[in-house]
Symmetry: C2
Subunit: 801 residues, 2 copies
């Protein structure tokens, strides 16, 4: 990940095209750096062509009187004078392994770290090859390949005919990867005068442009050529020079200094102006408690490490990778800053911006609605998509839909005050968001506020997990009250436990059914509660404490509320509408696109968000059946679903969602998932043709081992989620045991080197705890070795206490 | 705006760089078009250099045996062989006016329309100059200058060394403007083999890449050169040719056909899968009632006109500009698809994606929080920024803050059920969003749902407007009950009426004060209502019917609720927290950054959204004082404000907001605003040094004239908003009079030509009506002539009935 040292100012040098003077201008910068008394590291990661023509040779030759202060280095050399991706495949390179992007980036990072270990202030230039998007050895274009290092950038502009265009386009390609662009340099060509256009153009964007005298044209006599070139560099490096190199150098030094000062200032400024969600500010007293995120890439944040601030000459980078071990509140699907999502967002912004949605249509929204309804979580039951901004608003929409449909099918008139007190059937521990309507569909508790008034009845839920190596359903005592004896609650495998259809006739299903029916009948006798909808987070209640609910219980709930004979009793209700809140579990978070096939039933309404947009941008969708839709249809305007947000179905969000779902679909066929599924299949002894086989990104052997640790009460993995409940007497939100226990984990990794992080650096783990539950979450495409590294850390942390 | 004709397939040809073969490949395309029997229009909008070297001459020369089917055209010719932006300023161009971007685009549009008037199926190629970002005559880069036309694009890739990079970067620059890129063509250079890399690279993005044989190298003998060139083109055009030109042609024809088919299909598909916000689907029965938005630019949507579908040979474009006359639900500040906002969004996506926010910090959020608190709507009172996704969630946060602060200062314990029934003081007609908490802070009404239960007391509000040319405050009868006689309610100017501080001692202020105090004292004697906060939409209640409230009344309300002696009575309350919902009015929608200086008081909490992100992406902010913040501060986690959304403070939204606020600040100094302010100042006879002078983008003379029309009861303009209330006995949401009246407006403009629309085409007006109120809204940067054109349309529409 990103490298930042106070005493080593690093810039990567990108070119707006090939042959724009990258090496000449980098040589000038390096030479002027030595004139100012600094040591210089010049790195050319990939060098192609004859060694004597190589850029590092040029720098050695023209580095000036203090050239000994310049250390040049090339990491990968190929003899053919072609683009790196071709050179690596030439006959002359036969037998050499083409480095992967990771090896490539790690090699650069290793060199950077070595340079940073020298104590005096130095400059470093990393010169790329060709243009910004020229492919590197693996074939990945450089802007993407270098991105994990996130080095500040100097762009060498193009001074030739057409160079205005190539300079601006190159800048935009760098911007699309989020690079910090500190300066643009280009030759002062007096005929095309591109610098005259580009300087004010970029000044408006806050980017410094300098034009530098062009080098002399090549002389036919090598000695003369050398002398002219030496004169040229000498003139650029002269302290009296009016040319811009000295000025550029000061500017780059200033940028470096200001960046560090800004990062240093961020914790204090944040504590002074930000009000965080869900954070007790009274407990965040010190600057070091603020996580400063400088950038992010793939599964990792790049975190500014305040701890190094005191040591001026510290040789460890002030930016450190930290694994986003909770997938940034469960949103990340494809890692941070995925270029495909950035491009999808940019394209939609460029085509539409935002356009108002009522009675309108645009392609990103229409395509998204169709795929969600036909091939997505709505497959087989939904006919309509209603867009909003987040899971909470999506749930408010779902509740409005369900309550209206109930009122209509039960003939409850608009003026009937019963409407205001219609209740929800749900589970204890449910969470549907923080707007008050969504809160009212949950039991009261800590996520509460003045106006929150729970409206409904909440069942205790049986849970499922691995205890001491055995897949076990824990049935809470209220359910057992109605059971004569406890039926079988252990299973040969998780897949067996999640095969809900096969369990429908089991004795446990009967226990569940009797319990639910009798509770509902009891409730129907109480006049002031009239239940109007069933609302479930299928399979897992995330915010409630990562509670893995026995899916059979949820299935039986749905079956019961859809049987008016069972629920109605004296009230004579029709079947209740069923809402699935799939905000957390949707789109393979748990290994399934939707919970419907697992539970073997479809809802009437469902809500999706989070992964929907790949972890980039707010968007939620509420899907509904045609019956629900028809409940609002009339010839009277005010019967409509009068709900909307300004940015409803905003094109950027919809376009990003479409790009996400394209990529998620491809993951289904990927080696990563195929291998994980196969590992789980083999571990569980599940036949190939089993329906909905359960699987996880986490190793089943690891899960089993963890479940046997004395400090672990229960462990569970499904899809990208790993959770364990620790032994703790003080359960609930306020519990700190898991936090204390896992502090060991955090500390144990801070000093270790783990190659799973891009750049080969150490990484922390930004995990989450809820009461005595700790959980970790990967993206949908996190590599197996990263997961394995986390498993190792967890294992040792749990074993050290 | 965009042009689309069934019988004229148009492509603009952009180059990945200069000298990549744009003219050669366009010539090949044109020639092959004639071989397939089509008429071809070749347009080179700008031609620089000697006429005999011009690209249109080349095409005429090598157009092949059917060259007479090719019509070539150049619109702007300059003799100097340099970039257009330089050619236009050369001595040889002296005396010629440099065309503005609008003139430029209109000239192209005129030519396109002329070509489209020919009845047979034809192809058209519009060849740009240099690379994608090469500046055109005005200096604007071509990707931006051509954008209003939104023509489908063929990108000519670069086959030379470095060409992979320039091709990809050029593609990305086009994508950032939302262009549809139908194909990439490049020469088949066998040494660099760029096509081998680019074909699979773009295939993954769904873009067709074709490589075409390179032209012969230039022969020294002109005759030989001509013969070789002719042979080359002949070989490309031969039906037996294995080269790609024929294939490209079919592909481009297919793209054109599929685009029209897709647009044709969109209304039906939309009616089948989308559930719109606020729309009664029962009233939308026909495909023609669906507005299909193909793209948008500046103040205009580009709307697919279903009316032309039946006429195969219709010569009017199927895409028509439609003025976004309601600023897309009041969100647009800088017009649609503003490149600066797209780039800001892309940069943040590339640097962070989204990163979780609790206890974290990142620059876009931190910078935004600081500027909102210090220099934005929070200036002078707020200390904290809490981010969420939309106005409704922002208001839920505000309500949670206010209620908690009230409970703490009044010692209402957590378990006290009083908390659930704390009430709001507000105005009738208020609207704060559609989540149930936000709804509960409003009077019941049509924006309602089953769980909605209004919590509070709502005052009738005096309103302000221009009636028959006079600025008049209308005082509702409940307020007059407490007045002995009606004090002065007309004003010399709007600025006088909005000078709240000067009106504080007026008799009307006394009437307001006595009315509010007595109502609150009456309420405090009723036990089951305990008022805990004042919630106002300052100045205008938008959704409630564009109600312009007398600002003095709101000021007096704030003053009263902050005087515990006045409100407390038997309850002994402390001052009530005051919430300003500035979601609609904030950021100069009404000409003021915030209502605070106008009202002369600050709230304790305020909410902003909509314009905050320039009309691009969802984001809201709730600002609060340090006192409110401290109400949640303790050492207990569960005392915190336990509210958050997955994408809280998402970097893209915050970065776009920062870019928006930068540009909005600049507008403050712009000629556009200065002239409008000056016009209003002069019209009102307001002295230069007057505080908070009222102004509008709409002409004050126009406002006055409209207010005198017999069918208009009242008219009003403030900032970007123009509203008029029509004479109508059937007031309320369900009223259709204004709709009927304004249908005339819509129809009257559909067939007229109005140069305000880019491309000089006719435009419709996508205005909104609420009951008997019709309103129009501009962006913050809508040009005066566009506003004037709308004024003309309104004037004639209101006068025709």
């Amino acid at each position: 990940m990103s490298h930042l040292y106070k005493h080593l100012r690093i810039h990567q040098v990108f070119g707006a095209n090939t042959d724009v003077g990258k090496t000449v201008l980098t040589t000038a910068l390096a030479r002027v750096s030595t004139v100012k008394g600094h040591k210089v590291f010049y790195l050319k990661p990939v060098s192609t062509g004859a060694p004597q023509d190589a850029d590092d040779e040029h720098i050695k030759r023209f580095g000036g009187p203090r050239r000994s202060a310049i250390e040049t280095k090339s990491l990968f050399r190929y003899d053919d004078p072609v683009s790196p991706h071709l050179a690596a495949k030439m006959p002359s390179a036969e037998g050499r392994v083409v480095p992967t992007d990771e090896t490539f980036v790690n090699s650069i990072a290793d060199y950077v770290r070595r340079c940073a270990s020298e104590p005096s202030y130095a400059h470093m230039y990393v010169e790329t090859a060709g243009g910004v998007h020229s492919p590197t050895l693996s074939g990945t274009t450089q802007t993407d390949a270098y991105r994990p290092l996130f080095l500040p950038t100097v762009l060498i502009g193009d001074s030739k005919l057409g160079g205005i265009s190539s300079t601006i386009s190159s800048y935009e390609s760098l911007l699309l990867r989020g690079y910090i662009i500190d300066a643009i340099l280009l030759f002062r060509d007096e005929y095309y005068r591109n610098y005259e256009y580009l300087a004010p153009f970029f000044a408006e964007k806050g980017v410094h442009v300098s034009s530098i005298n062009s080098p002399p044209s090549r002389h036919s006599d090598p000695e003369e050529d050398r002398a002219a070139t030496e004169n040229y560099y000498a003139s650029l490096a002269s302290p009296e020079s009016h040319d811009g190199v000295l000025g550029v150098l000061s500017h780059l030094d200033d940028c470096h200094k200001r960046r560090i000062e800004e990062l240093d200032s961020m914790p204090r400024r944040t504590l002074d102006s930000i009000w965080w969600p869900f954070v007790q500010h009274g407990l965040v007293k010190q600057e070091k408690d603020v996580t400063v995120i400088d950038s992010a890439w793939s599964d990792f944040f790049s975190i500014y490490d305040a701890g190094n601030r005191q040591t001026e000459s510290s040789s460890s980078s002030r930016l450190q990778p930290q694994l986003d071990g909770s997938a940034s509140w469960w949103t990340q699907a494809l890692g941070h800053a995925h270029p495909s999502l950035t491009l999808a967002a940019a394209e939609a912004a460029g085509r539409y911006g935002h356009v108002m949605f009522p009675q309108s249509s645009h392609l990103p929204a229409l395509k998204l609605a169709e795929r969600l309804v036909k091939d997505g979580p709505g497959k087989g039951w939904a006919s309509r998509a209603f867009f909003s901004d987040n899971g909470s608003t999506g749930m408010e929409v779902a509740l409005k839909m369900a309550l209206r449909a109930f009122c209509i099918s039960n003939g409850i008139a608009a003026e009937d005050r019963t409407r205001r007190n219609l209740g929800i059937i749900g589970l204890k521990g449910s969470y549907h968001g923080d707007t008050i309507g969504a809160m009212d569909a949950c039991e009261g508790g800590v996520y509460t506020c003045e106006w929150h008034e729970e409206k409904g009845y909440w069942f205790d839920s049986p849970t499922i997990g691995v205890c001491d190596g055995k897949v076990t359903v824990q049935v809470p005592s209220p359910i057992l009250e109605t059971a004569k004896d406890l039926p079988g609650t252990t299973f040969a495998s998780l897949s067996e436990a999640y095969d809900v259809n096969s369990r429908l006739e089991s004795p446990l299903a009967g226990v569940y059914r009797r319990h639910i029916v009798s509770a509902l009948q009891r409730l129907s006798e109480i006049e002031d509660i009239r239940l109007a909808a069933l609302v479930l987070e299928p399979l897992v209640m995330g915010a409630g404490g990562m509670i893995f609910v026995d899916p059979l219980f949820q299935r039986v709930m749905v079956d019961v509320v859809r049987d008016p004979q069972l629920t109605g009793g004296s009230q004579g209700s029709s079947a209740l509408p069923v809402i699935f809140d799939e905000v957390f579990i949707g789109f393979y978070r748990l290994g399934f696109n939707s919970a419907c096939p697992v539970l073997g039933v479809n809802p009437d309404i469902s809500v999706n968000a989070k992964i929907l947009t790949g972890g980039l941008i707010p968007l939620a969708v509420t899907l509904a059946t045609e019956d629900i839709f028809n409940a609002f249809k009339s010839s009277t305007k005010t019967d409509a679903l009068l709900h909307g947000h300004s940015y409803t179905a905003h094109p950027m969000g919809c376009a990003v969602a479409n790009a996400t779902l394209d990529m998620v679909n491809k993951l289904g066929e990927s080696d990563l998932w195929t291998e994980a599924r196969e590992q789980w299949r083999a571990f569980q002894g599940v036949p190939n043709e089993a329906p909905n086989p359960l699987w996880s990104m986490w190793d089943p052997h690891f899960l089993e081992s963890v479940s046997r640790l004395p400090c672990v009460r229960e462990a569970m993995a499904l899809g990208t989620v790993l959770a364990f409940k620790l032994e703790d007497n003080d359960a609930g939100y306020a519990s700190h045991l898991a936090q204390i226990k896992l502090q060991a984990l955090k500390e144990s990794v801070q000093s270790s080197t783990l190659s799973a992080a891009p750049g080969g650096a150490p990484f922390g783990i930004h995990y989450r705890t809820l009461g005595n539950v700790a959980y970790f979450m990967t993206s949908l495409n996190t590599e197996r070795k990263t997961v394995a590294a986390v498993e190792d850390r967890i294992w040792s942390a749990l074993n050290t206490q």
